[in-house]
């Protein structure tokens, strides 16, 4: 582990933490524009986070320590995930410690804590949200694993930097297995990030909420961390998607110049990805909750198809 490697690693985490809220702001801007509305300023998510940090936290009297530590655990899990997802560079010293399966585990950890905290205070919405959150999670995670397995089969490794290195060096062509996996991954990302059509992050209707219902009891710094972690999660998913399906332009060394050159490429790719997300959200309506299994079942099926195509046809 070289000093440059550590620096590159730290830089990448810092970039993720700093850029994540902008990505959310950008998606909101695109969505407003697509709906024919005047877009909100790009930096609104930062202002929200700053505002929340300045407030006094209110915690229910019967909240256990789980409720208090959850924001930190979730935020920490997302930071760890940012450390092993290649966004700027593939030379990530930490990535040897955790592979793609561990990444799924990190997301699951955050989800389990969110669900526990939601049930902790004992409000009916918290339990309702926790139940729905786990319901979506147990359908989404297998599909995500399948997508990652498909990519692993191609590169022969479950380590994300290796996968990305391999994919980035293949000649430019359409690979059916990756195409299937790409569609599946997009569907899973929508579900995992509580976006339309599975969940609606903008709703105020507590009865329809999935992810938001688990957060109703949080305020101030706790809520700020959770919001930030949600932004990081979206950022991480976007980076996984970009790294797997459009890996071009990522820095392969730890040289400052390569990373510097990779940064604008990453921003451009994220901007395009965010616009696509906003487009999907604008043209779809929210699914009835019990349609979510069909939606995620389709994602799983596509991911399995991708793997079968790779295994049977080798393409």
């Amino acid at each position: 582990m070289t000093l440059a490697g550590i620096l590159s690693q730290l830089l990448q985490i810092a970039v993720a933490i700093a850029l994540a809220p902008i990505l959310v702001g950008w998606v909101n801007q695109c969505r407003a524009l697509l709906q024919g509305k005047r877009p909100p300023p790009l930096l609104v998510p930062y202002r929200t986070i700053r505002k929340l940090f300045a407030k006094d936290a209110v915690v229910a009297g019967n909240a256990s320590p789980i409720f208090r530590v959850t924001p930190y655990v979730v935020f920490g899990a997302m930071c760890c995930a940012a450390a092993i997802v290649p966004s700027l560079a593939t030379a990530l010293p930490f990535a040897t410690a955790a592979d793609a399966i561990a990444l799924v585990g990190l997301f699951a950890l955050a989800r389990v804590f969110t669900a526990l905290a939601a049930m902790d205070v004992g409000t009916s919405f918290g339990s309702l949200g926790a139940r729905r959150e786990m319901f979506v999670g147990f359908l989404a995670e297998p599909a995500l694993l399948m997508v990652l397995f498909t990519a692993s089969l191609i590169s022969g490794s479950t380590s994300l930097p290796t996968i990305v290195d391999t994919l980035a060096h293949r000649e430019l062509a359409i690979y059916p297995s990756l195409a299937f996996a790409g569609v599946a991954f997009t569907m899973v990302s929508l579900a995992e990030n509580a976006r339309i059509p599975v969940d609606n992050p903008a709703t105020h209707l507590e009865l329809t909420m999935i992810h938001e219902a688990t957060l109703l009891e949080y305020s101030a710094r706790h809520l700020a961390l959770i919001e930030w972690a949600s932004a990081l999660k979206l950022f991480n998913y976007s980076c996984i998607g970009l790294a797997l399906f459009v890996p071009f332009g990522i820095a392969e060394g730890t040289s400052g110049l390569a990373i510097l050159a990779a940064a604008p490429v990453l921003v451009a790719k994220l901007a395009a990805g965010g616009a696509v997300l906003a487009l999907i959200e604008t043209v779809s309506a929210k699914l009835r909750i019990f349609r979510a299994p069909e939606f995620l079942g389709t994602a799983f099926l596509l991911a399995v198809l991708g793997m079968l195509v790779k295994l049977l046809l080798g393409s």
């Binding site: 969505r31 697509l34 709906q35 024919g36 509305k37 009916s124 919405f125 309702l128 339309i196 059509p197 609606n200 903008a202 709703t203 105020h204 209707l205 507590e206 009865l207 329809t208 909420m209 938001e212 109703l216 959200e281 604008t282 043209v283 779809s284 309506a285 929210k286 699914l287 009835r288 909750i289 019990f290 349609r291």
Partner: protein, 518 residues
């Protein structure tokens, strides 16, 4: 409605539509209601009043509507512990009205359900605000109330209380769900959180000042309430508003309908997760409201309708603009309608969701838009038309399925129908043979007479019953919102649906809290 089989002689009441009134005994009240139900009548409203200062004890008043017009049935209770017959076996909609009557006047029906309805421990339970000897006391502390919700027992059943404080800034209502998993077994509503004593306040106002308060009973239906109040005053004062005023009133009422339907259509899209619909419909609604401001001086048209006529006339420039708006709006609404109709995701949420079957709607006496979406072909603008609707030939929009999609479809049809009506009205207003007068002076109102106003607002028919006191004062004024009839229908419409669909179903009815809680 023919009351002769009962052996009572009804007296006619001066009102904008055919109205009769009869004093009935408890037996006659029940018989009249049963005969009415069999003859296709429905219960419009039921309320009580304290008549002890006139040595008449207490009075329960029920109003029925059928195709002949309105029938007012008065029943006197000489003692406060006397009970009047329970009308719920005939008209289930009477249940909450009877309970509210007890909360406010302190006279009870012979019903099983004696739980309070509007009383939320805001005043002592043995005091009744609408009694003439009621003295409020600032030392009263808000109390605790222990409301007996009906619970469902069984394996895996759990209870979700929602509201009156919600996650968003919306109106206060409490909804108690009994669910298994996501499926709703039972919903029980608890309302009254916006009770502000409107009926009591009316009693301290003069008939002239009451118009402003009537226009604020439910802000989204201000034209309907103001018009109904104006009708009541005009029937008391025995004046007829000039024709131009009635056309202008109809213009306001149809614009109110358009604005509210547009808002609801957007909100329904949004509740289905289709924010594009909200953005587009909000824009259209805003255009309507801004034109209202320019033409009538108020975005929601408050105080545009006044007893005797209307507050201001419409100038030519605004009339032309309203006409142009209506034509443009019609095209845009048609375009958005095809967007909703062809969007698989939106249709999947709307169709088959929150079904209110025709027989249930009929039994519950569901009115207005929600009723028409369940196949109840009733619209005052056609059934009991007052000027100028007798000349407008409104064709009610109905649908058969009774689901959210049906209520959306009826809204679309009504917006288009109202826009057509607006064009006709504007043409009529431009007719030089229409006299320019827009109001008529009100005459002195005699003490102790009853006036009724009944107007098809955008939600359904709004009733205002006004009783005069000495010297132009209000003795008793009872505004009745169609939401009274329709709130119980939501409890039926959600059964078997999933909890997450409740907001969509609720929005598809979009009932008034303020108009109901008074």
């Amino acid at each position: 409605m023919n009351l002769r089989p009962l052996g009572v002689a009804p007296e006619p009441v001066r009102a904008a539509m055919a109205t009769q009134r009869a004093q009935v005994s408890s037996g006659q009240l029940l018989t009249a209601c049963r005969l009415g139900w069999e003859g296709g009548a429905r219960l419009v409203a039921l309320w009580g009043s304290d008549e002890r200062d006139r040595q008449r004890g207490f009075r329960v008043r029920a109003v029925l509507e059928d195709r002949d017009g309105l029938t007012v049935l008065d029943h006197t209770l000489l003692r406060e512990d006397a009970r009047y017959p329970d009308l719920t076996p005939i008209f289930p909609a009477a249940a909450r009205m009877q309970r509210a009557t007890y909360d406010l006047v302190g006279i009870a029906a012979e019903a099983d359900d004696q739980r309070p309805w509007l009383w939320l421990a805001g005043w002592p339970i043995d005091r009744f605000p609408l009694r003439r000897d009621f003295e409020p006391d600032p030392r009263w502390e808000p109390g605790e109330e222990d409301y007996a919700f009906v619970r469902v027992e069984g394996e895996g059943v759990h209870e979700i209380p929602v509201g009156p404080v919600h996650a968003g800034i919306i109106e206060p209502g409490h909804f108690r769900f009994q669910v298994v998993g996501e499926k709703v077994l039972r919903l029980e509503e608890r309302l009254g959180y916006t009770h502000k004593g409107i009926e009591k306040r009316f009693e301290s106002l003069s008939i002239a000042d009451g118009a402003k308060l009537a226009g604020r009973v439910s802000g989204d239906s201000t034209v309907a309430y103001a018009w109904a109040y104006a009708q009541a005053v005009e029937s008391l004062a025995d004046v007829v508003p000039p024709p131009r005023a009635t056309w202008l009133r109809a213009l306001c009422l149809e614009r109110e309908r358009v604005a509210n339907h547009l808002g609801d259509l957007g909100a329904l899209g949004n509740d289905a997760g289709f924010a594009l619909g909200l953005a587009q419909f909000s824009r259209l609604r805003e255009d309507v409201l801004r034109r209202n401001e320019a033409a009538f001086g108020h975005r929601l048209l408050m105080d545009a309708v006044v007893p005797g006529g209307v507050a201001r006339t419409l100038d030519t420039a605004n009339a032309l603009a309203i006409r142009d708006d209506a034509i443009r709006l019609r095209n845009e609404v048609a375009e958005l309608r095809s967007l909703y109709d062809e969007h698989a995701g939106v249709q999947d949420r709307f169709r088959g969701c929150g079904v209110l079957a025709n027989d249930v709607a009929h039994k519950l006496g569901v009115v207005g838009l929600a009723g028409r979406a369940s196949g109840i072909d009733a619209d005052l603008r056609r059934d009991l038309p007052v000027a100028p609707y007798d000349a407008l030939a409104i064709e009610p929009a109905t649908a058969a399925t009774g689901d959210v999609a049906a209520r959306v479809a009826v809204r679309f049809d009504e917006v288009l129908g109202s826009l057509r009506a607006i064009e006709v009205i504007i043409d009529k207003l431009g007719d030089p043979s229409l006299p320019p007068a827009i109001d008529t002076p009100l005459k002195e109102v005699a003490d102790g007479s009853l006036g009724l106003g009944y107007v098809e607002g955008w939600r359904g028919p709004v009733l205002v019953a006004l009783e005069s006191g000495p010297g132009g004062s209000i003795r008793r004024c009872h505004p009745h919102d169609p939401s009274w009839q329709n709130w119980p229908a939501i409890e039926y419409a959600v059964i078997g649906n999933i909890v997450a669909d409740f907001p969509l179903i609720n929005k598809s009815f979009n009932l008034s809290y303020s108009g109901h809680d008074l």
